[in-house]
Structure formats: C-alpha cells, structure tokens
C-alpha cells in the first residue's frame, strides 16, 4: 500500500462531484503524462463501492452516489491500467466483472487489420519469459468482419475469450467521418450497456485517454480534422453523465500553429491546436500538467494547474477554485500534491 492516501485531500474536490454533462480536459506534455491523474479519477469514482480497505477519510468526502466508468484508451493497454490501478488498491478486473467498469481498447487493433491473430497469444503475466517452452499458437478461425462482430457479440461471449479479449477493441477502417462513426457506435453501445445495467442514481463517467491520437494518426489526408473530432466528442458526451478527456498539449503541437505565420506548419499541428483549444473552450475544468519551468527536481514531478475552462458556468452551484499545485509521483506509485513552497 502506498504510504500516502490514494487521493490527496487537495485534489478530491476536483476529482469527484462532476456536474451533469460537464467536460473536463486534462492536458499533458511529453515529460508530464496524465496517466496518474486518470487513475485518480478512476479511484475517486470506483473505490467507494469496490473497496472496503480504502482509508477511512475517503468515505466521508466522496461517493454519495455510486458511479460507473467507461475508459477508452488509445495509447495504453489494459495491462497497464490494470497493474497501475492495483498499485492504488483498485482491482479493475473485478470491477469489470461486476459491470462497474468497462475498458474499451483503442490500442490493440485500431490500425492493424490482420490482428485477430493477436488474441490467440495469451497476454500479460501468464506469458512470462520463464515459462517452459510452449507449443506454437495456432490462429483462431476467422470470426467475421471485426467492426461488426464486436457490436454483435454479447458480453457473455466476450467473457469466455479470456482476460485480454474481454474488452471491446476499436477498429479504424476506411476514412473520414464514416470511420469515426463506426468507432463512436462501438463506444456508445458500451455506454448504453452500462447505462442499462445501472440504477437511476448511478452516474456514468466517460474517460477518453488521448483521443487526439486518433486525429494525429489520421488527419486531413483521411478526411478527419479538428471539427470532425470535436463533433465526435460531442456525440459521445451526450451519452454520459460527465466526460474526462486527456489530450497532449506539447508546445510543438499547440504553438506552431499560432506562431508560424509563414505557413510552414503542417496540418497535424494546425488541426491538433484547433482541437485542443476548442475542447478547452468547451470544458468546465482544464487540468493542465506540465514540467517545472526551472528544470527537473528530485521531489517534484511536475506542475498541475487547475483552471476554469470556457464552459464553466458562473451560476452553477458547484464552485471551482483555480489553483496551481505541484505534484510528485513516488516510486511506489504514491502521490503527493502540495502548493509551491510547501512540502
């Protein structure tokens, strides 16, 4: 168990109590990734119902309503989320079996067409190098067009196929909005399934990890731009109670488009900047992660700036304090969040 509480008290008000139809944008840079913060969102939403062994101070502050979470990850595998969540004392595999949590895999087969063979090889710790020699894995017989198949298959069917293929895998086929629509449909069907199995007072949280990858790896060449992506997000937002997005905000991706007046910036930069700025304007909260400007420090991982986005509503009953905090991820996965000058 980490020595620190999984959720630092300074952060808890921001992680829980997400208002209806709100959008939270987490921006990250190369050296300051957003995974730890996404994990904290997962913990804030899932821990109170799942865990009896969480520290007592959490019980009062969060979780009057139970939540369900759908996590769509375009950059990281199920294994990563599972092991990292375990460090926080969150058993995602168990939560998934309880239909509390759904993982949508946007990594494994997004662009790889012939990857149905992937699922024949056991993924994860079972496939450790110390295992004795095993037989050649034989490919499974074809299971039809993957995009359509993933929709038809029932949850029961998927559970049979073992741990790795237990989650829906997204596929990008074709081009333009049609391809985006197919992905959207897959995610929405998961959202609906979650919603159907939940009570009235259960809130459905949608987390999309690095959806900007979808834009970067396709781009205007395949008929997808910032506008299409923004519409895509809007379409998904309608089906969830609240939405959390992570997006890269590295300076080459944001500032090249603004500063290069000579027109020598590429579509990938202009489209990314347009998407990131557009989402920030729509967001209620913007959580901005960046590195220390003054160079690396041993006891600081980076800076977290919490600010109101363009979609923040002054009349709403939920208040939101703007803050700038430092954070430090310890080797054991523990998190410390503190103000400047404090420790």
């Amino acid at each position: 168990m980490p020595s620190q509480p999984p959720l630092p008290p300074l952060l808890t008000p921001y992680l829980s109590d997400l208002p209806e139809s709100s959008l939270t944008v987490i921006s990250s840079v190369l050296g300051a990734t957003s995974n730890w913060l996404v994990l904290r969102y997962l913990h804030a939403s899932l821990s109170n119902t799942a865990n009896s062994n969480t520290s007592p101070e959490n019980n009062g502050s969060i979780g009057r309503t139970s939540r369900k979470v759908v996590l769509v990850s375009f950059m990281r595998s199920w294994d990563f989320w599972k092991t990292e969540a375990k460090r926080l004392g969150l058993d995602l595999a168990r939560l998934r079996d309880k239909r509390q949590f759904v993982f949508v895999d946007g990594l494994s087969e997004l662009f790889t067409p012939s990857a149905s063979a992937f699922s024949t090889v056991p993924v994860g710790s079972a496939n450790h190098a110390t295992l004795p020699l095993r037989n050649r894995p034989t490919p499974v017989p074809g299971r039809g067009p993957p995009a359509a198949g993933s929709l038809d298959r029932s949850a029961q069917d998927r559970r049979v196929q073992g741990d790795a293929s237990n989650s829906v895998r997204l596929h990008f086929r074709g081009r333009g909005t049609a391809a985006l629509d197919a992905i959207e449909k897959d995610i929405i069907s998961e959202l609906h399934r979650q919603r159907a199995s939940s009570d009235e007072n259960e809130e459905l949280l949608l987390i999309i990890d690095q959806l900007d990858l979808l834009l970067a790896a396709t781009g205007p060449g395949l008929g997808i731009g910032a506008t299409e992506m923004a519409d895509w997000v809007m379409g998904l937002q309608q089906h969830a109670h609240a939405t959390v997005l992570t997006i890269a905000a590295d300076s080459p991706l944001i500032h090249n488009a603004a500063t290069n007046v000579h027109g020598d910036c590429t579509p990938i930069e202009t489209e990314h900047a347009a998407l990131a700025l557009g989402l920030a304007h729509r967001a209620r909260t913007v959580m901005q992660l960046r590195m220390l400007e003054t160079g690396a420090a041993r006891d600081v991982s980076g800076v977290l700036r919490i600010s109101r986005g363009g979609g923040w509503n002054a009349e709403a009953k939920h208040s939101l304090d703007e803050k700038e905090l430092l954070y430090y991820i310890q080797r054991d996965g523990g998190l410390r969040v503190f103000g400047r000058g404090e420790s």
Binding site: L30, T33, L107, S108, A129, L131
Partner: protein
Amino acid sequence: MSFRKRNVGLSTGADRSAAVSSQSAPIESSPGIRPSPDDGRPTTSTGAPSLDNLLAGHAGLPMGKTILIEENGTTDFAGALLRYYAAEGVVQEQKIHVVGVPEQWGRSLPGLIGTAESLEEKRSDRRKDEKMKIAWRYERLGEFGAGVAGSRDPPSQITAAGGESEAKPAFCHAFDLTKRLTHAGISNMSFIPLVPSKDSPFAAILKELQGALLSSPANTIHRIVMPTLLNPTLYPPSASQPEHVLQFFHSLKALMSAYPTRVTAMITIPLSLFPRSSGLIRWIELLCDGIIELCPFPHSADTVATSGAATSVEEPPQGMLKTHKLPVLHERGGGSDQNVGQDWAFTLSRRRFEIKPFSLPPAEGDTEAQDAATPGGMPKKSDLEF
C-alpha cells in the same frame, strides 16, 4: 514475481562483485533477460552498460518497450548504439529484425570481446599499467564522476581474470567497433526491406513483424532494429506522412503490448531532417517509451584524433545526451528518478559507449580549481610525495 527472483535481480543490478558469486545458478531460462531491480519486470540489455544504467533504475531496457534515439547533425553515434543493441541481441541468441537497410548492415556489427564485466576489469588493469605519473596521486580518490548511478566497482575489488567470467551467463557484453562480429546467430537476423507500395510503406513491415512474432516459439526474444527512420535515402517520401508513420508507431505499440515479455525495439531518427519542434516528431515521441537525444559537439572528431594515449582514460566528451522520457517511469508520471534532470555527456570509443555526468573541465593552468574539483578536497601530503 517471487521474492527470490527479485532478490537475485537486486544484487545483479546493484553490485557486480556480489553478482559473481550469486550468478552461478541460472536465474532465468532465457539468456540476456533479468528482472529489474526496481520492480522485477524482465529487462534486457541495450548492449551499452552505461545506457542500461540510465534507464530509470531498471538496469536494462524493460521488455515490451520502445526506445527512440534521436541524433542531431550528420554524425552516426546513434548508429553505433543501435549496432551495440543488435550485436547484444545476436550474442544472446535473440531474434533480430532489422528494418529498411540492406544486409551489409548486419555484417558491420561490432565484434565481441567478452562480457561487459571483463572489459571493466581489463580497463582497470590497463589503467594501473599505463597510468600517467601525474595522475597516480589521484588513484585512491577514485575516478571522478565514475559510472552512472554508482554502478561500477572500485578497481581494487576486481581479482578475477577475464576468462573466468565467460562461464556464467552475462547480461551485457562488450564489443569492439573496429572488429566484426562473428557469431553463429548472425545469420539468424532477418532483414525486412522497404517495398514500394501505393499504400503505407510500413504496412508490409508490420505484417512481417507480426508474422514472425506469431510463428516463433513463446520463449524466443525478439529485437526490432530500425536505423535512421524516415531517412529519405531509405524511406519513400510518403513514409513521413502522419497517417503512415504515426499509425505504424501506434501499431508497433500495440504489438509491444500484445507481447509484453518477448520483444523490445530501438529506433534511431535523424533530427536534422525532422526537428523536435515539429508536431510529427512530438507525436512519435509520445508514442515511444524512451527518448534519448544525442547532441554531438561540433568538430569533436578532431579533438579525439589529437588526443593521444595520454588522455585515453579520461576522454573528452563527444556530445551531450538528453533523456526526454524514460521507459515505465514517465508512463507512471515521472520525475522521481535520480538520473532525470542531469546533464549527461557521452563518449564513444572503440570499445564502449560511455555516458557520464557532464562537467566542464577545469581551465588549463588553473591548478587551484583542479584541486578543488577533486572529490574529497586536497590530497594529503603523504599522497603527494614521490
């Protein structure tokens, strides 16, 4: 991961002299794989011990991770690192996949001269023999800035001869760039050519890699080697379109996560053609697990040529090395590694690629500053008497 294995890994990574005794029994069935002293995940060597030590306490490249070496200018230091990486894989009898270059590349791998430990021993022996009379008064002060993360043994502890260490399975080997590798495994390398196609030039590469991983037995370890990615002499112009190269990197990441214990990759990219300030390179970096940038000093080749044997122990650095992202550490959030934020300098010599903390040498003739620079302050009077 059992406690026992973790324990063995700890001693292997942290203290080489202890490893000599504890390594008598094979700890892993696959050669060249050892658990990370940090969290026990399997790691493999990059072929350059000092680069291994740089990788966030794992003392090796964690399996299932991609490392990207970026290089400024027209030099090919990154290519040397890549050759070490490939040669290490050949010696460990792993399966090497080289993308985009003809088979001559495989013939230019550096020759094996023993394990990394044995080179360390020889080096310290040689230092004892050839040491300059000016320098020996510093002998007991230890080498300035020795090693990365304090991994090196003091010379006095080394007693074994070089031949003895061949008996135990070594994690990392030493190579000589002027020699050529002759090893049975070298014919086992596979070269994946770039075939011109209307579609993405990377599609065929991915298919081949997937097929190779799928058809090989589950205990085969693979290494993917991609020299000078997007270099226009190798890659067609369409390769640098984001939808091609970024989709390839994404699929490579998917491949890595599908076989998290069986494959590693090292990719080099020329930064002069594709600057880091461009959005495309930033996305490639976001998709890789480790980013190392090499910034060679201009005209460093001249200074190396003029420096004789006298300075062979303390060679001048040939460039700066920056770590922008380290495997595993940054995925978790980053920041808590002792190596992060240091200024590193690298030196490539015939036999080693060495990474040291960067420090400007004291100005010539400034003896007071030189004395102050030695750790431990002024040497005692008895040390100074000849």
